[in-house]
Symmetry: C2
Subunit: 357 residues, 2 copies
């Protein structure tokens, strides 16, 4: 069936390009001796996570416990929750999940991990943890160096906690435009992390896993002989954002809209606003439309302003956009249409939609 048969707005992926992106990335990380644990917060579809694993990833990264539950239920093994899981209710869910899958979770707070240990004892499970280290992003995480060593020494005797290593996300560097500055900034983060690893190892703390790297940094971060695994995930789709932020893969994620109004020869209105195609932070790119001046979105309208008159597109005509940023787009949709040679080959349910707890 042709894509035009389906109702718009309609999110679709070019299967040939996505598969070739996945193969490229699997080879890329393998050739550097790195494990690949793609983040699924922007992918949201267990079937695609499994496809990536079949091609070379050894597990996935999730942002939230509910996403890890979804992936577990779909048969995905080896999940890192790259976030703190707090509160009794969530820690109980984490223990429950850890009975049936290998789950690793980021920690950065002593009382939380002590609570985790008590609840894990009740559930008779061992919880795997990575210490999150703040290497310059200034979000969560322990300060590098001595605070990390102190933390490890404080949790050493927790019987139901298993220390696996460190996690650090150099997210503050992803959007740096100047290539030299980007390398310098990532190097500074890696130095902090490296010094922390050395300090821990010198003090007899085993550091098995060092997890980091995202779709906006992997081409640089994977060159340091430090990380053991890379979390880049959204880059299997690629979009305007990752193209700009240095990804070497090709754009495969698009949104088909219909033109709904042509109020002026220099203005095109489509049926997709920020509820289906956010223009926040990175603007989507309409395909096959010349002389685009600017694009704006309201909740359910997309407005394309042209620099010169064009009346060829009329209400009812399809218009594709290259997605601006997959992470803020895929999770809004109910379905993702997999297209090959113009035909819809697969319709995936976006099962990760609404998995935010």
């Amino acid at each position: 069936m042709q894509l035009n048969h389906y109702d718009t707005p309609c999110l679709w992926v070019d299967l040939d390009i996505m598969e070739s992106n996945i193969q490229h990335l699997a080879g890329y990380f393998k050739s550097r001796g790195l494990e690949w644990r793609p983040h699924t917060k922007g992918i949201k579809i267990p079937e695609i996570a499994k496809l990536v694993i079949n091609t070379g990833a050894f597990g996935v990264t999730c942002a939230k416990l509910s996403e890890a539950e979804l992936m577990t239920a779909a048969g995905v093994k080896n999940i890192l929750i790259a976030n703190q899981v707090v509160g009794e209710q969530k820690i109980e869910r984490l223990c429950q999940l850890s009975r049936i899958n290998e789950i690793i979770v980021a920690v950065d707070h002593l009382e939380t991990i002590q609570l985790m240990n008590r609840i894990a004892e009740k559930f008779a499970v061992t919880l795997n943890v990575l210490l999150e280290v703040n290497t310059g992003m200034n979000r969560a995480g322990l300060d590098p160096g001595q605070p990390v060593l102190d933390f490890y020494q404080a949790i050493r005797d927790l019987e139901f906690i298993r220390n696996r290593g460190l996690m650090a996300w150099e997210g503050h560097t992803a959007t740096i435009a100047d290539p030299d500055e980007k390398v310098r900034s990532i190097s500074a983060s890696m130095e902090k992390l490296s010094a922390t690893v050395s300090l821990c190892r010198e003090n007899g703390i085993p550091i098995e896993i060092i997890s980091g790297g995202g779709s906006g940094t992997y081409t640089i971060s994977s060159n340091f002989k430090l990380l053991t695994e890379i979390q880049a995930g959204g880059v299997i789709f690629t979009d305007v954002a990752y193209s700009k932020w240095g990804a070497e893969t090709r754009p495969s994620l698009f949104l088909r809209s219909l033109v709904t109004s042509r109020p002026s020869p220099k203005r095109i209105i489509t049926d997709t606003g920020w509820k289906t195609l956010p223009g926040w932070s990175v603007t989507p790119k309409p395909l096959g439309v010349d002389a685009v001046d600017s694009i704006s979105f309201s909740s359910e309208h997309g407005v394309i302003h042209l620099t010169r008159e064009n009346t060829s597109l009329q209400p009812g005509d399809p218009l594709d956009y290259m997605v601006g940023y997959g992470d803020n787009t895929v999770f809004l949709h109910e379905r993702l249409y997999g297209v090959r040679n113009g035909e819809v080959e697969t319709i995936w349910e976006v099962k990760g939609r609404g998995k935010y707890t």
Copy 2:
């Protein structure tokens, strides 16, 4: 059950405040001789739409056909789709829906309405339309004055189309901060609309409905003796945005998060990023936190920066935010918790989530 029993992030509404907002608005519009047709794009819950109708609204406004289908299935009557419905597939759905409910749809393009007429004939229904007029927002809509009259005259003989009147949304004025300038700008829009109405009536075109006004303009737009109905809907919740944009109702919509990390005495991390609590355009307001310097969001993390040290909030503690902008928040959630006197009285499914076609 207390709200803290439920897992976070957790969107909740103060029922006493929401109900009092609804009563206030019903009285407000009635006293001005206006019908109230609240927009449900930011409400998304049919049960709340019905509550509003029971209190004084006579129907609802929807942004999309799928939202109108949802509301129809829930028993809501009299629906205006304040948007163009284009393409054979959607027009067929519109005809189907028009067999079982009174649906009015905005139009602004001759070929589309001719197609609507042909399909309506096949379905043996009459489609109700309002002509959308561009009164300064420069999105969709016909230019005011003669183009509207020309359009009416061109559709006069379409047997399966019933002209009900005009729609215009003065959305470009909603965010104007200066009160005098806002009144001037809305007046300019209303003058264009008023002149169009007069021109049509002088030429024998019946204008039964004149629909407009939103949550950011209703306190001004409803004072002109022009509109017959007001679309303001989100204002039943109110949020940081509508409080700023002149709404007279009280904030009732909140999001409960948990603190997940305290990496520094001047930084609080919560479990809610822009996937559940967008800070786009309008920043949410954390409650009970003093000395807030700024707030930033990544996809799943909220970061509150403080101007002075505070260590009282610890990981696992609940923290409520006043929602920044309900329209970009409610539609992201699976459930809305209705709270009265600290107890969860109702849990509504956000059935309008994903209704974007």
